[in-house]
């Protein structure tokens, strides 16, 4: 889909290798595993937790022009839903082509109902979504 998924933690690439070899859950994972032992990248994105020395569970979507388009922040004890991440990514791809449209919360894929903000829609989002 023209995107690279890169997982990042403050571990080194050597630890990533050891973990990927050892953990069977990662056997099929083919994503790049980014190393941020200096925590520069984690700080740059504001996800570094000084009190623990770790990065929070945060996802960013960056477009091909280098613009930050999306973020999702979860605390340590909550995992992320990859289906929701893919939904957001697909919506970003769609909206990059259709810049005058908006994807509502239930949008799943191209062909689903979108919204075009206009004076007619003010106070009539329900009708726009359901008629």
């Amino acid at each position: 889909m023209g995107a690279d998924i890169v997982t990042v933690s403050t571990d080194t690439q050597f630890v990533h290798l050891a973990w990927q070899r050892h953990e069977k859950e990662l056997a099929v994972g083919q994503y790049s595993m980014g190393a941020d032992p200096t925590v520069d990248l984690s700080r740059m994105f504001g996800v570094y937790d000084d009190s623990s020395g770790l990065a929070l569970r945060v996802t960013f979507i960056i477009n091909p022009a280098g613009i930050l388009m999306n973020s999702e922040v979860n605390f340590y004890n909550m995992g992320r839903n990859i289906d929701e991440l893919m939904r957001k990514f697909k919506a970003n791809l769609y909206l990059a082509k259709k810049t005058d449209e908006g994807c509502p919360s239930k949008w799943q894929e191209e062909g689903d109902k979108t919204l075009k903000p206009s004076p007619d829609m003010v106070g009539r989002v329900h009708e726009a979504l359901h008629e």
Partner: protein
Amino acid sequence: MSECRESHLKLGDQVLDFEIDTYEPSVKNFGKLSLEGQKIAGKWTILFFYPADFTFV
């Protein structure tokens, strides 16, 4: 990137160029990833931060 570059990136902001070392399971080798390289290749980048290896992601 020696100096601390703590920032408060907002959606819609241009992300400063960065380069990190990687491990690439697909080719079982080490590599590098830079935002500049992604821009030249015309690719989207999804950064997936997590606390530590050997924990759940």
